[in-house]
Symmetry: C2
């Protein structure tokens, strides 16, 4: 069974570790959001690609959630002291990834081949693909503290300003011109199932589906989503701040509604059992209910198996 | 007494620590070669500026010579594993410097202000100035192992290829259009003396003197050189490979001759005592003789005092 998975960052990383226990990793192609990538200190950082890569490689920091296990921050501390921009935290091992990426891109490789080289270097057996090699940027329009309108890069909104601003709108700059990365359309087209990882529907999955051709290709496959919302709040991140701006209720129902046009079925948490009937009747989606809190790989495998169980007709 | 010092890398750094014991550091302006700067992984690395900064800050690694004391190489090791270019060794603390430099430059500061910000951040009291904010690059023309002509960036010649090629010529690309950094001409013009640190005459001091106006300004001040050559060989580095290509004998005499047009006097090592008369008579330069091996700061202070002793008339 071949699976294509649409993924954001840490939530997706945890889920994919479980999926790679349920089916062979080599049969999984992960298509990762790049719309929160940023240029910093002169090189490209791809937070979602790196999260997925580190989680699948088994080198992610489980306690902190982001970044690498056993990470140190010597370069960052020094950079702070010497006047550099330290708002985006980069560990020493993580820097190794970014510098390798800079060199691989400079050597003429595309972002897809670069991502693959890095993932294989860390021992990942699944295929990890950026959604696009073209630049797409999630911009968040907010009301600042003095009522001023600000148009922020997603990472400015989320990391630099701590998601404190009232969100008025979200858009994916550049997405109309963005083509899927080499391999993306094939992976979706040849997949026995597409899984939508428990990631932010607006900041992570929305940009992937907005890349030319992806939404239609996903719609053509048996597709199952996993709710990133449990009991009315995101398990991780700030989906609750962005979903209302996109017109979605902050609930497992709202997340299911966000995927209704592309997904046939949805996995929700047992705490949201009461929403099952509404999703089934109002949205016409099949529903599986399980404990979706992925505290370890075994728990993640249970969620993955619930999703895989919905891929039949 | 105000001193302007022309400097390359590690040899200059050691000497300057001695100079800063002989006179107050705040009275020293160091004008540093930038012609072996390089772009790597997307950011600018300034090896000579960093060496001088680390030595003056007291954070240089005395044993290894280059880089920082207590350095680690976690980013580099990771980068190697993931396919990055690891030929130019960058430690984690050192990376902090380069990333801060990238940010300061991106914020609109020039290289002179950026260099100053970094040096002050590390507690340096002397003023450190790049020779120019314009790009100058030392190119080394060599015969490759199959007799082919190659035109290499200085760092390619020196670090990547280990100075193994036969050198046919050296040129300072871009120097005709390069202006001195803000502060350079003032520092030289107002100096009671100019000291030429024991650096490579071809790779380090040559580019500084070639920047528009610098050679004439130095000639107008009482100027003293310190020999980087002892007993016919460089104390550090590969001046022996480059001096012949520039037409200089590899000896304290050859080094003195390289500076004859700008310097009145020269410090040589006691092992080269026999060259004193020849330098005095053939080149018309006053000479001081001392032990120039700078094994510690006290030894460096002795060399600095010998140079300062020659600055009177």
């Amino acid at each position: 069974m071949r699976v294509a998975a649409l993924a954001g960052g840490v939530g997706a990383g945890k889920f994919l570790r479980g999926l790679a226990r349920a089916i062979p990793a080599r049969d999984i192609t992960v298509i990762v959001n790049t719309a929160d990538d940023l240029m910093i200190h002169g090189f490209l950082v791809c937070p979602d690609i790196d999260s997925v890569t580190y989680w699948l490689a088994g080198v992610a920091d489980r306690e902190r959630g982001w970044g690498r296990e056993g990470e140190s921050f010597r370069a960052l501390e020094q950079m702070k002291l010497l006047g550099g921009q330290a708002w985006f935290s980069l560990g020493d091992l993580d820097l190794g990834t970014h510098l390798a990426r800079a060199d691989l891109l400079a050597s003429g490789l595309g972002l897809a081949a670069t991502t693959d080289r890095i993932a294989r270097g860390l021992g990942v057996n699944a295929t990890i693909l950026p959604m696009s090699e073209d630049t797409v940027t999630t911009r968040v329009e907010v009301l600042g503290s003095s009522g001023e309108h600000l148009d922020l890069h997603f990472q400015e909104y989320w990391v630099a300003r701590g998601a404190r601003d009232e969100v008025k709108g979200v858009r994916y700059e550049g997405v109309d011109a963005a083509r899927p990365s080499p391999g993306v359309m094939d992976a979706i087209g040849s997949a026995d199932a597409v899984l939508i990882c428990p990631s932010n529907p607006v900041a992570s999955i929305g940009p992937i589906l907005a890349v030319k051709g992806v939404r239609d290709a996903v719609r053509d496959r048996p597709t199952v989503g996993v709710s990133p919302i449990v009991a009315g709040a995101p398990i991780l991140g700030m989906a609750d701040k962005l979903m209302p701006a996109a017109g979605w209720e902050v609930s497992a129902f709202g997340a299911a509604a966000a995927y209704r046009a592309v997904a046939d079925a949805f996995v929700i948490d047992e705490r949201d059992e009461r929403l099952r009937a509404r999703i089934e009747s109002d949205l016409g989606m099949r529903v599986a209910v399980t404990d979706t809190i992925m505290s370890d790989d075994a728990a993640a495998e249970r969620v993955a198996r619930a999703a895989l169980g919905l891929t039949g007709s």
